[in-house]
């Protein structure tokens, strides 16, 4: 079970769209995961495997660098799926 947070500054608009599309991507890949949304501040103290976010958040989330995955388009399910698949391979979660 992989735990993913989708993060935007406020944790209610873009991160929610991201969550929906990350869930679809996981289903498509057959990877079991839990996806939650968070704001930049509410992520503190949480445990997780990955953060999916936008490039603008890079500085605010620098301390999680190795766990960050960036997407430029929250509505592009294929792009999200490809990006995640690459990261999962890197992490050794899938073959």
């Amino acid at each position: 079970m992989i735990k993913i947070f989708t993060v935007c500054p406020q944790g209610l608009g873009s991160s929610l769209i991201a969550k929906i599309n990350v869930q679809k991507a996981l289903e498509k890949m057959g990877v079991e995961g839990e996806v939650e949304t968070a704001g930049v501040t509410s992520i503190t103290g949480q445990t997780f495997d990955l953060i999916v976010t936008v490039p603008e958040m890079e500085d605010s989330l620098e301390r999680y660098k190795s766990k960050l995955v960036f997407v430029t388009n929250f509505f592009k399910r294929d792009e999200i799926a490809d990006t995640l698949e690459k990261k999962f391979r890197e992490m050794g979660l899938i073959d």
Binding site: P9, L12, L16, I17, I20, N73, F75, K76
Partner: protein, 149 residues
């Protein structure tokens, strides 16, 4: 709550003239204020978010979704949508210029999820933003939503 519960006909306007991104956010926000969905200060809050965090709200090519926290003056969960007569730059290298601005206000973290999920389904089709940009009336915007739902 469905997408059409958030995106009501009086919250849609087409072919709006604006000179920059701030005015675009204000116009989309004005529809929310006139509807009684937000207090006027919510509109300022949406602009402040972009100033503070950058143009991350341009979520897809041509499409921006400004929003702010419920505490910034949300009265009821709603989505307004305007199409721009001339596109504006938000400063997002990947997704500028913007033709469609949809301002979101959510009263809590739960009730708008189904509606946003539906919006995500609609916008998963690359052609939708372009179709919205060319729509001649609010009714046509809703018909496009309907055709992809």
């Amino acid at each position: 709550m469905l997408l059409t519960d958030l995106l009501r006909p009086n919250l849609i306007a087409v072919n709006i003239h604006v000179k920059d991104w701030q005015e675009a956010v204000r116009e989309a926000g004005r529809l929310l204020v006139e509807d009684g969905a937000v207090e006027p200060r919510f509109v300022d809050a949406m602009i402040e978010v972009v100033k503070e965090f950058g143009p991350y709200i341009v979520l897809a090519p041509g499409f921006a979704m400004p929003h702010a926290k419920a505490e910034a003056g949300c009265i009821k969960s709603s989505l307004s949508l305007i199409t721009l007569a001339e596109p504006v730059e938000f400063g997002n290298p990947e997704n500028d210029p913007v033709y469609v601005v949809a301002a979101l206000t959510a009263a809590d973290h739960g009730s708008h999820i189904e509606a946003l999920s539906q919006l995500a389904d609609v916008l998963a089709n690359d052609s939708v933003v372009g179709e919205w940009a060319n729509a001649k009336s609010p009714e046509e915007i809703l018909q496009i939503v309907e055709s992809y739902s």
